[in-house]
């Protein structure tokens, strides 16, 4: 630019003309503009920094919430899958100790003790497992015999004041479990061969005979009547047991 007084070259940063010494009128405007720019820059910078900090704080909050929500979702999935996880762990443990369990089960079978066998299987949660699937019918008949024996004991040995069930209810349960025991002992077409090996058939026959013995002794049923139970309705069997019980009870 040129000095408007002497016409010599002049820089915008010069407050006075270096040649004529007069004041540069553009310098003041330039300084004011520069000051305004600097202030503008400063405020913009502060605003950007403040926004960035606000955004980063918000981002941290969102991240924390998202992580917690994700962990909750994962824990929920874990809860929903807990049965499968526990079953898989149980199966693994059972497979590791399978031979020990099988040996104990065989011992109870040899002793023809369905009550002990049922409790052993129940306490160690052996029923409905793949590892010991071949004993499923053995577990089933032992469980049904245990209930049968429990209701028999309640009916025969407990006073009316102690027993929380009526004679009719006890007989209903006895009829139900009698039918279940006979069903367990009877092989169905869909049953696997491993369910009915010779030792298991021997055990199931022994359990059925024990049940027959108790039905004959405490209800006066004849072996012929017991043999016909699979064709007898539950209601009819309940009546037969009730009649047998009352006859036995009155003769005491």
């Amino acid at each position: 630019m040129k000095c408007e007084h002497c016409g010599m070259n002049l820089q915008i940063e010069d407050a006075f003309c270096p040649h004529c010494g007069r004041e540069n009128p553009f310098y003041k405007q330039h300084r004011a503009d520069m000051e305004a720019y600097r202030e503008d820059y400063q405020s913009t910078k502060e605003e950007v920094l403040e926004n960035a900090s606000r955004i980063s704080k918000k981002a941290v909050h969102i991240t924390v919430i998202a992580v917690l929500a994700a962990l909750c979702a994962a824990a929920l999935v874990l809860c929903l899958a807990s049965y499968d996880i526990e079953s898989a762990r149980r199966e693994l443990a059972l497979n590791r100790h399978r031979s020990e369990y099988a040996k104990t089960i065989q011992a109870y079978m040899a002793a023809e003790d369905p009550l002990e066998l049922y409790e052993y299987a129940s306490v160690n949660r052996l029923t409905y497992t793949k590892a010991l699937e071949e004993y499923s019918k053995v577990f089933s008949i032992s469980s049904h015999y245990s209930y049968f024996y429990e209701y028999l004991g309640r009916l025969i040995t407990e006073d009316d004041s102690v027993r929380y069930l009526t004679v009719e209810e006890c007989c209903e349960y006895l009829a139900k479990y009698t039918a279940y025991i006979l069903e367990d002992a009877q092989r169905q077409s869909y049953d696997k061969d491993s369910y009915y090996t010779e030792d298991k058939i021997t055990y199931m026959t022994a359990v059925t005979e024990k049940m027959s013995l108790l039905l004959q002794a405490y209800f006066g049923l004849t072996p012929e009547e017991i043999a016909k139970i699979p064709e007898t309705s539950a209601a009819r069997l309940t009546i037969m047991l009730e009649e047998g019980y009352h006859e036995n009870h009155e003769s005491k």
């Binding site: 809860c79 049965y83 526990e86 429990e150 407990e158 102690v162 002794a217």
Partner: protein
Amino acid sequence: MKTMKANKRVRRFSLFGVLVVLLSVLLVILLMVAAVKTTPTRGGYQSRPSSILFDLQKGRYSDALSSVKENRALGFDESSDPDYAAPYAVCDYYEACSYYTAFKKTGDEENAAYYEKLMAQAFERMGSLQYMAEAIASAWD
């Protein structure tokens, strides 16, 4: 203006805090539930000698026998606590007596004799509870 800004800041902070606390509590609960559900457990409870004895004294023989069978399956036999010996023997007597009476009633003397022997063995172990034998025998008879 300043107060409003401060209030706004407090409210935003507390909303975040409440969410964090709620989610943390939920997470802890879910983890506890998952831990409990996936922990391998045994399917039974130990019955104390006093509880079995109480059932026997009340004449609830079936309940007592179930407790004894469950205890034995859990590994709590006579050697784990000497107080178990007498109530366990009463239950053994009760069980043997049911079959003894049944065989006797059906005329199978051979098997009845076997169970009679078991009853005698159990009776020996009944100690101070031997007085229960008569009630049990008459209940099955």
